[in-house]
Symmetry: C2
């Protein structure tokens, strides 16, 4: 049957996949998705009683908080948390394994994941990364949950803008103590996990003052006991409870206010800045700005873990929604025969492009974890001194930070969008908590906000691109960025993109041909990358004049380019995603049964990504209207082709059945599992 009204198809269209999927493809796909820490995934799959981790929505807030603490104890027994800590602090120094384990936890319960992230990643991580041997003794108790603590960074007045927090830590020469104080109501620490109920101590970020200097030495971190043995607030510490939130009921977020609380001099986490007994400040890092960003570097792991867990929640939701779509029948197709939801093209179009993006994200996330792991391992081996890195290390560190921000933004925004779509795609059943989608939705909702608000992070990604061409100036404020001006773009592009070799060779192959097929992998990455490069160049042109301007005008100009900057960052993210897909494909044996289906997933990702900007591609004369039309037709063909393979594609995620076998999949009104096309 032909449809003569559709546009001429894009040439090189791949063959439609067989309508009977080949379960043999699952194994190779899973191997790719499992990545380097497949064994950590298997530990979770085989050793954790996942069902015990599921959230029980009937619990009250107090009950939920205790339940999460119990789940955390169960997890602590497995030892997965040790990986985040340096060997000299009694840790296992295996960042990759720990983040992968937290990711797996995302399939089960995000509250537990977040509470674990607060305790071990943020609170423990701060002590581990910012402290020295004099704080090392805390780590064991942190690992074993004997010392629960808080990461006291965010303030009411300053959430994303950490550099301007108001809490002070002032050294008192007489008593050799720091006085920790919240000088204004807006200095109150807010949304702090473990604060409302369980935390005994807090790593408090504060402006550090020493006698005789008027200016702060910048933001530093001080350990402050906040509760006594009986759980009562310490003198001078006022603790508040945020109570009910949009989700994460079991995570006890609270507020902290300090009224001239005294702590010993040794409470300062002094790895990157110390105060001597006689009140003299010293630091191994001269630049105040770089010191700040070095300390903040400890946040990266949290960002990577949040992106990982968001990805897991998304994949679990897609697994549930697609399995439901393959079984649930509704509305007549042929007389007397109701169609399955997946047999409706509108249904395929709402879920499958999102599935393709989830594949790309999972692969990119794995690369991110590898990168962070290898970097941390180099630090642990003593090959990389964080305080005095080489120029190349500094460049790599900045790229890691920028990539971590990009991946976190991409994964959490995709989670918000896709989990919502999955909920709606399951109709009324999707709204019942027992089917888990609403719980994933509520719990993951704040992931776009915490560990760096997406709106802020995405601009960081864009600014990094814009500023990176010159001498490692990552710390530019908008005004400085503008003043600095932007030149020499071609160098930036060469240096910054660090395109994987596999991908570059594909691009090189297409660059000469006159007319390329949009099904050509090299051309796909070229087209997607072209948007990034084009936006970078035009943004640089727009901002160039700012350096000659008065500050007020320059600020206005930068504000007016804010949407441009954000578009640029998203274009960068899309380039990273297509690259990750292509690299993964290259890892598959050519005769793998997974090959054709992964190829179509890449096509679906590429086409739907390009089509999001169909207007822009035409405006820039990069693609003609006929080609964007053909691309739209190709997306339809691709979801038709991939539809029957949905089961294989979600099976490859390898999520324990106990976590996704929700009641609606076994309802009357749906086909039995064996009856489904999987």
């Amino acid at each position: 049957m032909t449809d003569k009204n559709r546009p001429a198809p894009e040439k090189g269209s791949p063959r439609t996949l067989p309508t009977t999927p080949d379960p043999a493809a699952t194994k190779d796909l899973r191997k790719l998705l499992d990545g380097r820490w497949a064994s950590a995934r298997d530990v979770f799959r085989n050793n954790v009683n996942a069902k015990e981790l599921l959230h029980d929505p009937t619990l009250s807030m107090d009950e939920a908080r205790e339940a999460i603490l119990n789940k955390l104890s169960l997890l602590a027994e497995t030892g997965i948390q040790k990986g985040v800590f340096a060997p000299e602090n009694g840790g296992a120094g295996d960042t990759g394994a720990t983040i992968t384990s937290l990711e797996m936890l995302g399939y089960a319960d995000l509250s537990t994941m977040v509470k674990g992230g607060v305790q071990w990643g943020l609170w423990g991580g701060a002590v581990d990364a910012l402290g020295t041997e004099r704080h090392s003794h805390y780590i064991k108790d942190i690992i074993d949950l004997k010392l629960l603590g808080c990461f006291g960074m965010t303030e009411r007045g300053h959430g994303s803008d950490v550099q301007n927090i108001e809490t002070t830590a002032t050294y008192d020469l007489e008593t050799k103590e720091f006085i920790v104080d919240s000088p204004t109501p807006s200095a109150q620490k807010v949304y702090i996990g473990n604060a409302a109920k369980h935390g005994r101590m807090a790593a408090v970020f504060a402006q550090l003052y020493t006698p005789g200097t008027k200016e702060s030495h910048g933001v530093h971190c001080v350990l402050v006991p906040i509760r006594d043995e009986d759980g009562n607030p310490m003198p001078g510490v006022t603790i508040g409870d945020h109570g009910h939130k949009g989700g994460l009921l079991g995570v006890d977020n609270g507020t902290l206010l300090f009224d001239k609380v005294r702590v010993p001099r040794e409470a300062l986490l002094n790895r990157f800045g110390d105060v001597s007994e006689d009140g003299v400040y010293t630091s191994p890092i001269e630049s105040r700005n770089r010191r700040f960003f070095t300390m903040l570097g400890t946040l990266i792991r949290g960002r990577v873990a949040v992106g990982a867990a968001a990805g897991a929640a998304t994949r679990a939701s897609l697994t549930i929604a697609l399995r439901y779509a393959m079984r649930r029948r509704q509305f007549e197709g042929l007389p007397g025969k109701e169609k399955r939801l997946i047999d409706h093209r509108a249904h395929r179009l709402r879920l499958l492009p999102r599935l393709a993006r989830s594949y790309a994200l999972a692969l990119l996330q794995n690369q991110m974890v590898e990168r962070l792991h290898d970097q941390t391992a180099a630090v642990n081996r003593g090959e990389w001194d964080v305080a005095t890195p080489t120029d190349e290390q500094l460049r790599r560190q900045r790229e890691t930070e920028s990539r971590a921000a990009a991946v976190k933004v991409a994964a959490t925004a995709h989670a918000t969008d896709t989990i919502q779509e999955c909920r709606e795609a399951c109709g009324g059943a999707g709204y019942m908590d027992e089917n888990r989608l609403t719980i994933f939705k509520a719990d993951s909702d704040v992931f776009t906000t915490f560990e760096g608000d997406n709106t802020v992070l995405v601009q960081m990604v864009g600014k990094e691109l814009i500023t990176a061409y010159a001498h490692g100036l990552s710390e530019l404020s908008p005004i400085e960025m503008v003043k600095f001006g932007v030149e020499n773009i071609s160098d930036v592009l060469r240096q910054r993109t660090s395109i994987p070799l596999t991908v570059q060779s594909l691009i090189d192959r297409v660059s000469d041909r006159e007319e390329n097929s949009l099904f050509d992998a090299g051309y796909q990455v070229k087209i997607i990358q072209e948007r990034e490069h084009n936006l970078l160049k035009s943004l640089a042109r727009r901002l160039k004049d700012a350096k000659k301007m008065e500050p007020a005008d320059a600020v206005k100009l930068v504000d007016r380019a804010q949407d441009h900057l954000i578009d640029l960052a998203w274009a960068r993210i899309d380039t990273m995603l297509i690259e990750a897909l292509i690299e993964a494909e290259a890892e598959l044996p050519a005769d793998s049964p997974a090959f054709p289906v992964l190829e179509q997933i890449r096509h679906l990702f590429a086409f739907s990504t390009i089509l999001k900007h169909a207007g822009w591609y035409q405006e820039q004369n990069i693609l003609s209207g006929n080609r964007t039309k053909a691309a739209r037709a190709a997306v339809n063909d691709l979801v038709d082709s991939i539809g029957p393979w949905s089961g294989v594609l979600v099976d490859a995620f390898g999520i324990p059945d106990a976590l996704v076998d929700v009641p609606m999949l076994n309802d009357s009104g749906v086909d039995s599992l064996t009856g489904a096309a999987e």
Copy 2:
């Protein structure tokens, strides 16, 4: 300061609004938005203690259910519910006032709105609209909450596809009773409000059988007692409890299963179909299909109310998020001076186009309520017999149904999108339940699903457009639709669009000019409408061949056009929205201080709507790339211009302060209200 890299601006660009907004504009805007039932809005504003209605997230499910019931009693005392019932049943026959009141309730608590909607609108509405004088005595008790009941339509196996529900009501000649039965597990009634806890009776939709006829007479509605005086299930009735959901905790959704439950013959709501003592079926409506759709017509009011409440929740969320954006400062602009969130263009771009669409929706919603009210009033006055309407009445009825579906889809999808954006735009504070956005989000989430799943309804809107040109054939199945074929499109367009006169005259004025400005109202509606017409014509062409095909091929063809059909329906919705804005503008006095700001709201709606399809407009050679680029620049200019007026624009919604004055607006770290630019 000029930006020489931006495209040449679209000609006819309006002047930027003054940076100091004129509060005098609020009054006229509110008058427009309040519409015909402004008095019902004022009753809510002045007489209802709105704060008592707010959801308390600390309640357990059982407590929440009792709390909602108490709130319903408070509301019942105001008598707002009487409007839904016909005067002969003791009602006030004022549909407009009741729906408007339910809408106002959406500002306060969607759980109460939904429970009220179930009790009075669905359960009461079914008895009122489908019953006859012999059921009239129930109405008073329904109004006074002495008889709580259920609307038993949805089944596990058939949610959206009501025509194929499986529950049976079989007349027993011997006992003169109906036997109500759930023959299969998939016949179980699910998601039924009032079922889990409070309902005593249910209006059960079932296939009606009489002795001697093998085929069902179609879906009818029978009253079945489900609980005795002590609240225990009646014999043969199995009641289940859905427990926790994604929101609406206080609404007691449950399941109902009937095991040959006997009810008297008079339990049949017999307005559109009756069974005599000796088992003979009669109906004033001959066509089985039309009978079904006439009965289902009772659902329209629910759809309209759901759209109204979704709109209210959205406006409340925008009010909260925009007031926060006008006070909350974050990140440095000029040295030493932090910018307010609203001073960031990215922030304006995420909220203000959604505000513009909310304006359009509120105005369209008011038109919808008027239309439904006038139609119901005509029925109540005896000028319109629903069972035997004139051809013109039938046409109008179908258009009302289609418009109700379109408005429900538009309002609920917009709520899901916009409330989410508001939550994220308020960062961590937005995630705290005390600031209400998460509660609006959770409660409104199912609005895209219930009272007609949006995916189904939007296709209904598209199908109505495609099939309406011929003799009132609204009941076509996809196959019938295909078989019927589609010709004579120009007639459809003329007949179906029923463009308001104000709008048509604007279109006529532009139609001759060679080059029009996108700021011209007539050209805006023409461009938006062109997408609708173009998609309708091309869809008709695509489907034309289907009538010659084998059913299997025809089904495939229709499925392959599903995305096209959905695009068409959304294009129709956008046309309706721009028309509503233009009509509202025409109602303003020319010298109204509200005029320039409403005009810019229309521009913002028009440009952002057109830009959503920038790719398509270029593909179709309707707009050049230069113009879509200029349109993008215009959106930026418009949000810059409208930004300072955000306060005026949300004040015009007239939401009681008690409902939107959430804690984060008074936090330290934000400006005081008086300090804000409003």
